[in-house]
Amino acid sequence: MIPEIGHYSLVLALAVTTLLAVIPLAGAWINDGLWMRMGRPLAYAQFLLLAISFGFLTAAFLMDDFSVRYVANNSNSLLPWYYKFSAVWGGHEGSLLLWIMILGGWTAAVAAFSKSLPEPMVARVLSVMGIVGVGFLSFILLTSNPFLRYLPNAPQDGADLNPLLQDIGLIMHPPMLYMGYVGFSVAFAFALAALMGGKLDAAWARWSRPWTTVAWVFLTLGIALGSWWAYYELGWGGWWFWDPVENASFMPWLAGTALMHSLAATEKRGVFKTWTVLLAIFAFSLSLLGTFLVRSGVLTSVHAFASDPERGRFVLMLLALTIGGSLLLYALRAPVVKSHIRYTERSREVFLLINNILLLVATVTVLGGTLFPLIAEAFGKEVSVGAPYFNTMFSFIVPVLVIAMGIGLFSHWKDTRPGTYGRRILPLAIAGTAGGIGIPLIYGEWEWSAGLGSFIAIWLATAQLWDVWEKSSGKSGVVAGFKRLSRSYKGMATAHLGLAVTILGAAIVSSYTEERDVRVDTGTQVEMAGLTFVFDGIQELKGPNYVADQGIFHVLDEGKEIAVLHPDKRRYLATGQVMTEAAIDWGILRDVYVALGEPLEGTTWAARIQYKPLVRFLWLGGLLMAIGGTLAILDRRYRIRVKANKARTSVGESDAGGTQPAKA
């Protein structure tokens, strides 16, 4: 019964979503208030039905209903309950359902938090999101139904969740990532709604900005979590592989970052309107492309689920329709919108333009490297693009971006006084050079890549802190001045510092990781990075659904024991799959990482020992970026507007934050 209810509400959700896709839009077209107002209830109903469907699939997992094919393929009675729960999105069908439910959640959120928007706008936005929903609901129901049954011969037990996915990182990573991916659909829907309405004004940018930032925060967290998970679970200590699926999440992030910045320019100054619309379309299209890459199995990747050409074709069609349709709409409607706003080449607008161009170049670089094997395959060549391609490209793009960023922080809208930049370049260069020479020397011999990375990280951090200092300084003192800064400014500063932290971490850990593969027998001592590692043999261990050989490593610093590490070699009972579980002694400044290789002969084992300086900075930076984004959303002007609107029904040109867009 339970899977049938889930299935039924999924079908109902398709019906409701179809209404959502048509009625409010038609209402906006013929200017029928009743039809437009249908948007909100339909959006809530859609989300409710999807949540029910998702809830019943989850129930099937928790109750070990192995007559459901998807449960049988992805779960096992021995799994701990929390992994049964996360196994719901451990395979293709369930993760797609999660994707759609999150889309429903975003749609309902737009419906709930758009009271201040004009009715036709809300109707159009909700309908566009409904159209996307119809596409994906048909996809899941026609090709990837998670509620299909094995009847009458249900298996006794399930095939188990892939052991790699039995981990806390994976409980959280996909929902975060999907919140980000799907969140860009809101910006996309706003952009299309504005195009349809023919009113691409600053108000449109003001509405989409917080939504874009929320999506970006989730995407940032999702990517950081994924990288962290790869680091301790499958990478033997690697944290970014330029795997097609990592790229698939990185591209919308780059485009989304560009979008956030151009939205700022559009909101404050009314410039780059058509460009911003295009970026919103790109960001969401790249999210869809990411979904396609993951789901279709066209690219070799650790994430590739069993490939099914049917599914690939379907997503490709959705992709073509979305991109084609929205670009067509753009081509038809965008030229109507023109702005006549002046700014000089020293203005903040120009710096944001540089930011956008560089981020877009980075996006295209990743896109090219990711799709090149596909294109080559069409010509009968089987190739792969190595990580060095991406590393080379980013070692050019990122420094240019960050150096421009450091200067651009001091810019003003419209025009910046001559000399503003000039007098800052020298101090920044001195600080950067000192960092670029000094920091790598702490870790060993100076290397240019670590030097360059440290240079730009310090350059950016110094510039950002300097700017915060200047903006806080005033008659009442720096502390009081700092308190007066707006939350969105503090958020921006935090996020920029986060980028500096991530860059520094990446530069140092890439250059100064010490890594050795060793043969160890009981009592073997290994000296590395000033530490002594003593192998103390193997003990056997029994987990809930696996058995493990657990190594014991004592880590000594000048004879004093600082940690005992227990890396596992696990064999999962249901599949017989063998898995490495690394042991990490973590610290903010360095990680010590031990992983067991394979048993050699007798009591001898292969092991990999690593010393990774500043590796935590990578994710700390990501966390700072996410905090920054969150601060920006909590800015007063968003809350004040909510209050103000309780008294007022339609939005006027009220903006208490003093962010009145300049009209030409």
């Binding site: 070799t300 090149f372 089987e382 190739v383 693009v385 992983a595």
Partner: protein
């Protein structure tokens, strides 16, 4: 030039310059970092370049894995059931590496006809077969049938 035009010129120059440099760089970086895939049969036919980073894939031949006594050196044969090539590697093999499993090795073809691997990839799912290995096997199969 009026300021508006000047501004537009600047923007266009920025875009063209940036995009031009980026495309040039990307093409150069791509040309340096493309790793072609070869099957053991292709290598036996002399199609693969020497001392260039290539990818080789096939099944690990049963009973062919030999470990060095006191280091982490290991060698094994990779086959597409038509031809076989020896791969040498030093380090830790992936968890899913075992005899009879499909793998991809990234390495250089040396003068003695063996592959010196930098990296050995076995995929993370038991059921998963690297697509290029599958195709190589299919091709070898077809060639056999055609003989």
């Amino acid at each position: 030039m009026n300021p508006k035009r000047k501004q537009r010129m600047l923007i266009i120059l920025f875009v063209l310059g940036g995009v031009g440099i980026a495309i040039g760089l990307a093409l150069y970086a791509l040309s340096q970092n493309i790793n072609l895939f070869y099957s053991p049969s292709q290598i036996a036919a002399g199609e693969a370049p020497k001392d260039t980073l290539i990818r080789v894939g096939g099944m690990v031949e049963e009973g062919s894995v030999e470990r060095h006594k006191d280091s982490l050196k290991v060698q094994f044969n990779v086959t597409d059931f038509q031809h076989t090539i020896t791969v040498r590697y030093e380090g830790i093999l992936p968890d899913l590496f075992r005899e009879g499993q499909g793998i991809v090795a990234m390495g250089r073809l040396r003068d003695d006809g063996t592959i010196e691997a930098q990296e050995v990839l076995a995929k993370h799912d038991e059921k998963y077969m690297p697509p290029e290995v599958q195709r190589a096997l299919d091709k070898a199969e077809a060639a056999k049938a055609g003989e």
